[in-house]
């Protein structure tokens, strides 16, 4: 039986204004998972997180946390979520200790446990030295950690962070990532980011969102395996005429296509080719066959490299197609407008 997810987002749509908002967003976060909500700025990441935390009501769809529905039992859900919004909005006129006790009370941490819990969390986040300082006097890095402290003070099953590393210096970014990783041992974590490498580094699962819609989701390996139809690709640099080499490789078993990337004449007699495997051919098989075939012809091989499909490619592909579609739509609208004008005139 599948384990019940900590967070279940089911077909959430949030409309506000004609174009903003998110449409039909669905994904899950399971216990022990770190899930990254990845997308360019303005993709709908913050809106999605705000719906999940109950700040914005969804126009349609459901959000469930530990089996409790956000709509039916809002308090049961809120008790189970810790939230670190973008640029954490703290109370500047309180000391760190006062602020954390306030948030602990708000989040129903039992009185008897409050002080011990704050000390514990302060130690873990290295805030012990600043507990007596005013929040408003803290640096950005410290404030981000106070924000994180208030989000976990009540030990919620789900921790939600909106762009937790934005605005931090590189050193603090590394620290924040380490903290998120360490908190994932006790909490299911959902965080948003527009930094691909960060999501790749931290997450078991990635939800790519763009234009208010989920474009793809899965583990990094799952996501990239679908790229280029899941076919293996090998780049070859061989000292031979490009046409001849391409011809020879096309005849091989399991090769579906060969493209000439660079003519031999242009690169000192070394041609560069891209070989695509057919369905079911692994990258290793493909490499073996290519090397044997080329060696058999007596052509020296300079390079044989398996091209890994990267998330970056996927990310660009997803956001580019969107751009292309938009451009297309804009052109169509323009054409229609022009047509309308002609009709009117």
């Amino acid at each position: 039986m599948e384990q019940q997810p900590v967070l279940d987002v089911i077909g959430v749509t949030k409309r506000y204004g004609p174009s903003r908002g998110v449409q039909d967003v669905s994904f899950r976060v399971r216990r022990g998972e770190v899930v990254g909500l990845l997308g360019p700025n303005g993709a709908g990441k913050t809106t999605t997180l705000r719906v999940i935390t109950g700040y914005l009501p969804a126009s349609s769809g459901r959000v469930q946390i530990d089996g409790h529905d956000l709509w039916d039992e809002p308090f049961e859900v809120r008790r189970r979520v810790g939230y670190l919004p973008d640029n954490p909005p703290l109370y500047p006129e309180m000391t760190v200790w006062e602020y954390l006790s306030f948030m602990a009370d708000i989040h129903e941490v039992p009185r008897a446990r409050r002080a011990a819990r704050i000390e514990e969390i302060a130690e873990r986040l290295e805030l012990t030295d600043v507990l007596g300082r005013l929040v408003g006097r803290l640096s950005r890095g410290y404030r981000q950690r106070v924000g994180l402290a208030q989000a976990v003070v009540h030990e919620p099953p789900l921790l939600v962070c909106d762009e937790p590393t934005v605005g931090l210096d590189p050193h603090q970014v590394v620290e924040m990532r380490e903290l998120i990783r360490s908190f994932s041992k006790e909490h299911a974590v959902l965080f948003s980011s527009h930094v691909l490498s960060e999501v790749q580094l931290l997450c078991n699962n990635i939800v790519i969102i763009h234009g208010g819609r989920v474009q793809a989701q899965g583990s990094p390996a799952e996501l990239t395996s679908h790229l280029h139809g899941g076919l293996a690709r090998v780049r070859v640099r061989v000292k031979a005429a490009a046409d001849e080499a391409a011809e020879a490789l096309r005849g091989l078993d399991g090769v579906s296509g060969v493209g000439v990337e660079e003519e031999a004449a242009a690169a000192g007699g070394v041609a560069r080719l891209l070989v695509e495997g057919g369905g079911g051919t692994t990258a290793d098989d493909l490499t073996d066959r290519i090397s044997v075939a080329l060696a058999g012809r007596g052509w020296p091989v300079r390079e044989l490299r398996v091209l890994e499909n990267t998330l970056e490619e996927l990310f660009l592909e997803l956001t580019e197609t969107e751009k292309a579609e938009k451009a297309q739509a804009a052109r169509a609208a323009k054409a229609a407008a022009a047509g309308g004008k002609e009709g009117a005139g």
């Binding site: 506000y16 705000r50 935390t53 109950g54 700040y55 914005l56 009501p57 308090f75 809120r78 008790r79 979520v81 939230y83 919004p85 640029n87 909005p89 703290l90 109370y91 500047p92 006129e93 309180m94 006062e98 306030f102 948030m103 009370d105 708000i106 989040h107 129903e108 039992p110 009185r111 208030q150």
Partner: protein
């Protein structure tokens, strides 16, 4: 911790924050200074022990003080986004707004308590009608409670504190000066009835009637309810 705890937690924070900033102290000093002027003017000049003019004038000061005490309550939270953390915590909007109100009511009560120095000082030199003092003081306190609820409501409408202060000034003035509106028959009676001075007047005569208490309390409840609705509705649009 039950529901009792939530608004109490919010109220206590408001109270602490109010007295950490200079504004409340400055207003308190102004309150005492002006109170002293009224006291000297109306009692020492006429050699009377009637304190009702002092409470009357102090109540008028509330038209200016209430907007200043309440302007930041909700507007500031919205400006810096901290409402997002409260409204995603297990706190209802009602508990939150009520907590804010109780907090500022504490601050106001301190102002009101300090003003009892005037009757106390008078009692050393003459006979004070404590019954009238008590009802006038209660009237002033309720007058303040009503103006603060209007201020809190105004603060829910905007994220700009200055705008909030001006709005609440306008609302308070509307309820203060509704008798100035010329009106006959039912309208005139209604305008007179809802005006805060005509309500307050009965208290300064030593009359504490249930209908006046109910009117002022429902004024507070009504504006708190409106503030809650505004905070909730904003998230839906």
């Amino acid at each position: 911790m039950g529901n009792f705890g939530k608004w109490w937690v919010v109220a206590r924070r408001e109270w602490q924050v109010a007295f950490q900033a200079p504004l409340a102290w400055v207003l308190l000093a102004l309150w005492m200074f002006m109170g002293g002027r009224f006291f000297v003017g109306s009692l020492l000049g006429s050699r009377s022990t009637d304190l009702t003019p002092v409470f009357w004038n102090l109540a008028v000061l509330l038209i200016f003080i209430a907007p200043l005490l309440t302007m930041r309550l909700l507007a500031e939270e919205r400006r810096n986004g901290s409402d997002e953390l409260i409204l995603t915590a297990p706190v209802s909007t009602g508990q939150w707004v009520l907590g804010k109100y109780i907090g500022v009511l504490f601050v106001w009560t301190m102002f009101a308590v300090v003003s009892l120095l005037f009757p106390l000082a008078t009692s050393r030199f003459g006979a004070v009608q404590w019954g009238v003092v008590a009802s006038s003081w209660l009237g002033m306190w309720l007058f303040g409670a009503a103006t603060l609820s209007m201020g809190l409501f105004a603060s829910s409408l905007t994220s700009n504190q200055v705008v909030a202060a001006m709005l609440s000034f306008a609302v308070v003035l509307l309820f203060y000066g509704s008798t100035w509106v010329p009106g006959h028959g039912l309208v005139g009676q209604l305008m007179t009835y809802i005006s805060l001075p005509s309500q307050f007047n009965n208290f300064t005569l030593g009359l504490v009637s249930v209908s006046h208490l109910i009117y002022l309390v429902s004024l507070c409840v009504g504006f708190l309810f409106l503030a809650v609705r505004v905070v909730d509705l904003r998230r839906w649009t």
